[in-house]
Symmetry: C2
Subunit: 460 residues, 2 copies
């Protein structure tokens, strides 16, 4: 990188931590004014160039001949500052800059919607292009970045191959959600691809062939749902992590999920201490305890059947769920999942071996012919956060299931994997944005994505 670009806040903090920052050192910085206040003789600018979560304090005084000019620099202005480092070990910020001069690089107009006050998240959502400049979205995007790299780091260190599964596809992996259609010319909707093209809902079917070539693989990319859901947990576009491992069964899959989740959470706590302290103080008090509890607890494993029995026992014992009608075969709701993880296990728990009727077609049928080798990971304060399964490797069983569902056509290749050196394999899916909600304590998925897409939401 060029030597010409100015020093960054980040570099100054790194130098400070490395004890390489010295009293009086002259620096030139470029960045933005976050606050500017003065008492008539001394002025203070909270300054940030965006490279580090923490601001740096600039101090100017009457000794600066243009004190008056400096004191009128508005919130949001881009400036270049020349000054000297002043070490302040006794203060909250460990160093500050004694200003020699400030140049205005870009004025900030008076109609700037972001003001030096608390804005609601709803308001900030409406100015999505400016909200990364606020403390909360500064922190959210930094943690988002660290979490994404944690994911790659975990898999790369373990020899997994990253596969870019396609976004445009002709098949709807789960057969579940509604899909968006992809059309070049609305007058001839299937002409371009000579097929009914849609946006992917999952990369799993496309990544399985790669697991059967490279053993351990993963996808990490955008996926889509055309559901008209306006909850705080649904977005039309979100990123998913979908690893797939060969020569592996459901137990191996759960080992992977536990190891992976602990690694990435620890990575974020280690790499983003300032941001995580911010969330712990300002967004979800105790979020760090919640996460540290996940790190230190071995994840329990319990069958769906045991789970149902425990919930029935709870109802008998007088516990009131909104839905108190607990029966084997039901799809658990969030309140049930949370009861199991929060009240029964008091920590993360895998629920395994679900009734085949409520799970996807590609999951391995267990010997009981009633359940499939699936697992959902439930965590306190959230409920289900990861879903995985061993895949059906038996050609005949899978074909029978696909014929029942009528999705064999167009997926013959997927079925064929079972007769060309097929082997046991497993994988899981984890919604990246929901994981980010869990880690940061942010309550709305719209506040974890740079530009969220939801029904009616395409302003930017």
């Amino acid at each position: 990188m060029s030597q010409k670009r100015s020093l960054t806040n980040r570099k100054l903090f790194l130098d400070f931590y490395d004890k390489k920052l010295s009293e009086g050192q002259e620096v030139t910085l470029e960045g933005w004014v976050r606050t500017n206040r003065d008492n008539g003789s001394v002025g203070f600018i909270e300054f940030n160039d965006g490279s580090h979560f923490k601001n740096i304090q600039l101090v100017y005084s009457k000794e600066n001949s243009n004190f008056e000019d400096f004191s009128h620099i508005r919130y949001g202005t881009a400036i270049e500052v020349l000054g000297n480092i002043r070490l302040t070990p006794e203060m909250k910020q460990p160093f500050e800059i004694a200003v020699k001069n400030i140049n205005i690089l870009g004025e900030c107009s008076e109609d700037y919607p972001l003001q030096k006050k608390r804005h609601t998240f709803e308001f900030l959502r409406d100015i999505a292009y400016l909200r990364p400049r606020s403390n909360t979205f500064n922190a959210v995007n930094r943690v988002r970045n660290a979490l994404a790299f944690a994911i790659h780091t975990y898999f790369q260190e373990r020899g997994f191959i990253y596969v870019h599964t396609p976004i445009i596809t002709a098949n709807d992996a789960e057969g579940a959600g509604q899909v968006f259609h992809v059309i070049a010319d609305p007058k001839k909707p299937t002409e371009f691809f000579n097929a009914n093209a849609c946006l992917t809902v999952s990369g799993q079917l496309h990544v399985e062939p790669f697991a059967l070539a490279f053993r351990d693989v993963y996808t990490f990319g955008p996926t889509f749902r055309a559901e008209n859901s306006n909850t705080n947990r649904h977005a039309s576009e979100f990123w998913m992590i979908e690893p797939e491992i060969a020569f592996a069964d459901l137990e191996d899959d759960m080992d992977l999920i536990e190891s992976f989740l602990k690694f990435i959470i620890k990575y974020v706590i280690d790499k983003c201490p300032d941001e995580m302290n911010f969330f712990n103080t300002m967004i979800e008090k105790g979020v760090l305890d919640k996460l540290n509890n996940v790190l230190k607890t071995p994840f329990r494993r319990m069958t769906y059947t045991e789970g149902i029995e425990l919930l029935q026992k709870a109802v008998k014992g007088g516990h009131k769920f909104e839905n108190n009608d607990i029966f084997w075969g039901m799809d658990l709701q969030s309140e049930h999942e949370r009861y199991l993880t929060e009240e029964i296990v008091k920590g993360p728990v895998f629920l395994t071996d679900y009734p085949k009727e409520i799970k996807a077609f590609y999951m391995k049928l267990n010997d009981d012919n009633k359940t499939v080798a699936a697992c959902d990971l439930l965590v306190p304060k959230e409920g289900e956060i990861v879903g995985g399964s061993q895949r059906e490797e038996d050609y005949d069983k899978l074909q029978a299931k696909m014929r029942e569902l009528g999705n064999e056509e167009g997926l013959e290749w997927y079925l064929n994997l079972r007769k060309f050196g097929g082997c046991k394999h497993a994988g899981f899916g984890l919604g990246f944005d929901r994981l980010l909600m869990y880690i940061t304590g942010m309550q709305n998925i719209r506040d974890t994505e740079p530009y969220p897409r939801t029904p009616g939401g395409l302003k930017y």
Copy 2:
């Protein structure tokens, strides 16, 4: 990760390089048979579990009571093998496995389309779900993986923030290519988003606001073109890398491009020596020399105007281009670009300051009012590989340009960045799949993507 999963080829090679592999060590492996041949008394299986580019040789003999069974194991079969390490320092492969037993995990049916012979790339394209098992696509996908991680590593080490710009968008960044429409219900095409939604052609407009909050940022994700182009360099879906840096001009941008490109090429050469040797021998003879030449050469910088003059001089001197009509204002074709980089500079060269008419609306107008602060990087054997520019930071100039093009509506926020603490900033775009073609020597973009999408191409 669980201790239960079997050893990998990768682990054995790593242990070997670390001198931790010992003669006679007992191992259990699971993987696939790549070849199986015997001379009646000794048999050899080339074995691979996909975790490493190189195969491992399994040796079985008449001492194995089921020699006959072993000798009939078909190409493509998934097996579990128990055996002992035999160090063979004098051989091409530094170790092999003396087989004690083999269990069949998954048979490979006789109609397996992949056979132990050379297949054409066209044929392999038609079995996209099996081709990663072939040597070439094994190598391509490994390099693709390493290159993707190299990109993240470069930016993360330098404090850049990774931004997931949206895939579904209401605006066509370049105003150039044809776009795909995204429609939930074909009967009411704009209902879901209450807007004309399409697939992104570039994340740049969406990432600029993040550069003006975090200084240095990048996107790396899928982008789309609905062009009906059937060349070997066009795909409907491809991944792009788009960094954006604040407080930076075109010179800083070129510094970044050069540093970035050298880093990621060196990373791939270092991390994938076996794969790169394969490409160097089997796909493009001399590709390693070509890349090493890029690494060791400082990139030249030359204005478009100088480039035109040199081309005109070449024509005068008798050089014949297919298009010999060279004039200031023209869009250079690949033959012209390649002449400049291959014949004149004999190395990578940035062409800068292009006529404003042939470049995008957001590029900074130079003082001459005729050219913009843009750069294209041209490299030998390829031509243009990266396009970058400094962005117009002047509100009035940008607004005038946008009004001229009629794209101000819906992009007011983009324009507003120029009045809310705007500053000079720059960035570039690099097509990931084309870069992979350049690095591997693969001649068709369809052979660098896991499941390429092209007009009519949506089989998988």
